[in-house]
């Protein structure tokens, strides 16, 4: 209630003030038109008296001030035209000092002063010096600030700068500098005087008001930065020390923060680089509550951009030892501000790291040093719980990954894993994913076992259960994503040299074996295939590599593979293990290692017998076994017989008759390999096909009994196709008579009363007959063969 009342009052007072100004302005204009100096002065003084109010907040006072400002411009023009009022500027300067109250007096004086300087009847420096001292007469903060701001505004283009028209014999840039510095100092003192005392509500209001006024003070620094005559030396020797002196001595938190920030913004980066020590030296002297880390971050940000935009200045950075100075300054700030929350310290390190990566990317020692400082700060503390601090640590760790596209560079930073250790397990995993993502995006490759070791240390949160892992919330999708990422990264661990590659594989194996049953199905397969690829590479090499004490051989790798796949039995994952055993069997076959291949087949069969009970899984598994066995040629007669016998045996024992039939005729291919030296046992092929036929018949009869109608003839057509296959290949046991018989059988079945019409089998049969026709029409030996078959 009271506040809105106060606001209403303020509005009222402002309106009154504006009305007052307008009222007096009207008469002042009349006086100006009449060239009446006396009247003009009288009404302008009255107008300016409105600015004597102490009832307005800075925001509202500004509005009033601007009105007055506009009127003073008209007055100034009048003052300049001496012929209109007949008073010399010197006399004018004297005359206006007769104004009754000090504030209007000083505004008028400044206005005349502007004209005075322009007339060049007196040196600029003298006038300016006089004005800046006279303004001391107003000590009220708001009124004083706006008055001095007026002085700054009108003097801006009249400073005795180098190359300016006001640069006289005695006037040098030093005078301009002195003037501005003095105005600045006085304004800062006034500003700081607006003390934050009293109850909270009053303090908040005061702080808001102070903030509204800050640009008036900061403007002076801006003006300084625009003075052409200030070179690096002058800045170093005079300007900067004086500014810093004022900043430090005012002991005001608000002012210090704002002015440091302003200082960094307005002066060129080149200057900051060369005065780094002085600038940084001021930081510990500031009030302990000043948010110095933001200031420092700003500074580093600016310097980084400077380095990025002008690479030719990089040697300067090294010469002034920028990194060392910044690093030390940050250390000091963190030390002195003992109650700075951890997120503050880490944010500083992030800024420093960003700076280092942009300015000195080749100095990995610097990068590691920053990480090391962070580690020191984090030690002897419990794991981070503040989510903001955690975020900053992630930012810290991500920065090198983004900068260096080659992951190996980041892996050489000795302090990197130490920082990671301080993350809680959830964030640790996130960071591990970030690392893997970086590797995949940059298509990086890790090619030494040592570096692989470091990498797996870093991502250990994904590889195994760590203490501190929350037992319950294991989101399945997240988990799968994590493990799939690990699987992917295994493929980029590679070295051309087989020995080193084997070392890499062993290192990875060591780590993934600690993962437990949930992780193995994800991590074992990629490693298995990595090893198989290595074996393939070694296949072409012969014998031992001379000089190698422990050469990588396929045999050795197969032993490793065996152990790796065996680990899957703890999951358990029999179907996956069976597939992997078969892959190894085929690879062993290609390496001519009969016992090894046999061993792998044995393992596969054992799994089939003991672990795979699901009928659908059995069908796929047996086909995989048959398919693999069909391709192996390394076995001697005995071994081969044992394995094919097993395969056909299991085929016939599948649950559903159609599955049995198909598996059995698939087995026929075990006895016929189309290669030059391939086995071509026509009799056993026929045995298989006949067996398949018997099973198909039995299936039909069962269907008759169970459903009252026979099943589709598809199986018969499939077997017919197989007969045709071997007939073409020249298996003497397959006669055209047998084929003819089958064709008739199928036709009979299709036309029988109990037949279930099936469009698909019909089409299949038609296609097959078309095929036979096609072969007949081929002519030559094929045509002859098929000639005896009637369709």
């Amino acid at each position: 209630m009271m506040i809105s009342d106060a606001m209403e009052d303020e509005e009222k007072w402002l309106a009154e003030g504006i009305a007052g100004i307008q009222h007096n302005a009207f008469y002042m204009h009349r006086a100006l038109d009449a060239n009446n100096l006396r009247e003009a002065l009288k009404y302008s003084a009255q107008l300016l008296s409105e600015l004597r109010t102490s009832r307005l907040s800075p925001h509202k006072y500004y509005e009033l001030y601007m009105r007055a400002f506009d009127e003073l411009r008209k007055l100034e023009m009048f003052f300049k035209e001496e012929e209109r009022h007949g008073c010399s500027v010197m006399d004018l300067y004297e005359l206006v000092q007769h104004a009754g109250n000090i504030l209007p007096r000083l505004y008028l004086l400044c206005t005349v002063g502007s004209v005075y300087i322009k007339s060049k009847e007196a040196p600029a420096k003298d006038v300016l010096k006089d004005l800046v001292e006279m303004c001391r007469g107003v000590q009220h903060p708001i009124r004083g600030l706006f008055l001095r701001s007026y002085l700054a505004q009108i003097s801006r283009d009249k400073l005795p700068d180098i190359g300016s028209e006001y640069e006289g014999d005695g006037d040098t840039v030093m005078d301009a500098v002195e003037f501005v510095l003095q105005n600045f100092s006085e304004m800062n003192k006034l500003w700081v005087r607006m003390e934050l005392q009293g109850p909270a509500r009053v303090r908040d209001k005061m702080e808001k008001e102070r903030n509204e006024l800050r640009d008036l003070v900061g403007k002076n620094l801006h003006v300084l930065s625009q003075i052409e005559g200030i070179d690096l030396d002058l800045y170093k020797v005079t300007v900067l020390p004086r500014i810093l002196e004022q900043v430090v001595n005012c002991k005001d938190e608000l002012a210090q923060y704002y002015l440091m920030d302003c200082l960094i913004q307005v002066f060129p980066d080149e200057y900051h680089l060369q005065t780094l020590e002085t600038l940084l030296g001021a930081c510990p002297q500031l009030q302990p509550t000043v948010d110095i880390k933001t200031v420092l971050s700003q500074l580093m940000e600016r310097l980084s951009s400077y380095a990025a935009s002008s690479p030719e200045v990089l040697p300067e950075f090294l010469q002034v030892e920028a990194f060392a100075k910044l690093s030390t300054a940050i250390g000091k700030v963190i030390e002195t501000q003992g109650d700075m929350p951890i997120v503050g310290a880490i944010t500083l390190y992030v800024s420093l790291l960003t700076f280092t990566l942009r300015v000195h990317p080749d100095r990995l020692d610097y990068v590691d040093q920053v990480l090391g400082s962070c580690v020191k700060k984090l030690s002897n503390r419990p794991k981070l719980e503040d989510s903001r601090a955690t975020k900053q640590v992630v930012a810290l760790l991500s920065a090198p990954l983004e900068k260096y596209s080659d992951i190996v560079t980041s892996l050489t930073l000795s302090n990197y894993p130490r920082v990671m250790d301080h993350l809680d397990s959830g964030t640790n995993k996130i960071m591990a994913m970030v690392i893997i993502q970086s590797i995949m995006t940059n298509q990086a490759c890790v090619s030494s076992a040592d570096k692989v070791e470091v990498l797996f240390e870093l991502i250990k949160g994904l590889i195994k259960d760590l203490e501190g892992d929350s037992e319950d919330e294991l989101d399945e999708e997240d988990f799968n994503e994590e493990q799939n990422s690990v699987a992917r990264v295994i493929h980029v661990l590679y070295n051309d040299d087989p020995e080193e590659m084997l070392k890499i594989i062993c290192t990875v194996r060591k780590h993934i074996m600690t993962g437990g049953p949930k992780r193995l199905p994800f991590t074992v397969p990629p490693l298995v295939f990595s090893a198989l690829k290595l074996i393939r590479r070694l296949q072409n090499q012969d014998g031992d590599v001379a000089g190698e004490e422990d050469p990588a051989t396929p045999k050795k790798i197969f032993q490793l593979l065996n152990q790796m796949i065996e680990a899957l039995s703890y999951v358990p994952a029999p179907e996956l293990a069976l597939r992997l055993y078969l892959q190894c069997a085929e690879a062993a076959n290609d390496c001519d290692l009969e016992p090894v291949a046999y061993e792998f087949f044995t393992q596969a069969f054992v799994l089939y017998e003991e672990e795979i009970a699901d009928s659908k899984a059995q069908v796929t598994a047996i086909h995989l076994i048959i398919g693999t066995l069909q391709r192996t040629n390394v076995f001697g007669v005995e071994n081969r017989d044992t394995l094919t016998h097993k395969a056909t045996g299991y085929s016939a024992k599948l649950l559903k008759k159609p599955d049995q039939c198909r598996a059995v005729y698939a087995c026929s291919h075990l006895f016929w390999v189309d290669d030059q030296d391939g086995i071509k046992d026509g009799e056993r092929v026929l045995l298989c096909l006949k067996r398949a036929l018997r099973i198909a018949n039995a299936a039909q009869q069962m269907a008759n009994v169970a459903r009252g109608s026979s099943g589709p003839v598809t199986l018969f057509v499939e077997i017919l196709n197989k007969y045709l296959y071997y007939f073409e290949k020249g298996n003497p046991q397959i006669t055209s008579a047998a084929i003819q018989g089958l064709i008739e059988l199928i036709k009979t079945e299709m036309q029988s009363d109990t037949a279930t019409p099936d469009r698909i089998s019909d089409a299949f049969f038609d296609c097959t007959l078309r095929y036979i026709q096609f072969q007949k029409q081929k002519g030559g030996s094929m045509g002859e063969k098929f000639d005896t078959i009637k369709v």
């Binding site: 397969p525 390999v673 095929y771």
Partner: protein
């Protein structure tokens, strides 16, 4: 003009980390009308990726696929052509053209798309055309050594299909094309 992408045997992440970057940049959504995939993706992520390229996605089951609900075979009609899809590990001997021809007759399709061997093949026989798009990631195969990443794009236009095979050889994408025309089937 209907564009059909035939792709498969990616084996992500068991045998390969990802599709080659050059393929990824070529396969953009909205350009293809159908995707037929021989199988062995192997994870849902890859399924989702293919689905994002084209909503009409047909997949058959490979022996390493995470999702065991994909069918063993599938037939699709596109324009004048009947296409059949099957991973191929079910057809013994693996890669045997005559055995694949039998499958083609069984499915009664003009074009049979099948994989498993990771080797690109496209040829015509009495019953129609057999296409193997190879492995899009050149994943390890016990059957074929030294494969290049490859996939196939079919342009079906009336009775004609142009088969474009994209192969990544030494870091460059090379394209080859084969023309097939469908003739009317002779009656028996």
């Amino acid at each position: 003009m209907v564009l059909v992408l035939a792709i498969g045997d990616l084996h992500i992440p068991n045998r390969a980390p990802d599709l080659p970057a050059k393929f990824k940049s070529m396969l953009v959504p909205g350009k293809i009308q159908h995707i037929i995939c021989t199988g062995n993706l192997c994870i849902k992520e890859v399924h989702d990726y293919l689905k994002s390229l084209c909503p009409s996605l047909h997949i058959t089951r490979g022996e390493y696929d995470e999702d065991s609900r994909y069918p063993e075979t599938k037939t699709i009609t596109i324009g004048q052509f009947k296409l059949g899809l099957c991973h191929g590990h079910q057809v013994v001997p693996w890669g045997d053209l005559d055995s694949l021809a039998m499958l083609q007759r069984q499915l009664d399709v003009d074009i049979l798309v099948s994989g498993h061997t990771h080797q690109f093949k496209a040829y015509k026989h009495e019953a129609g055309v057999v296409i193997n798009p190879g492995s899009a990631t050149s994943a390890y195969s016990s059957i074929t050594y030294d494969v290049n990443p490859s996939f196939v794009l079919m342009d079906i236009d009336g009775l004609r299909v142009v088969v474009y095979v994209y192969e990544l050889i030494d870091g460059e994408v090379k394209v080859d094309k084969i023309d097939f025309k469908k003739t009317s089937t002779p009656a028996i």
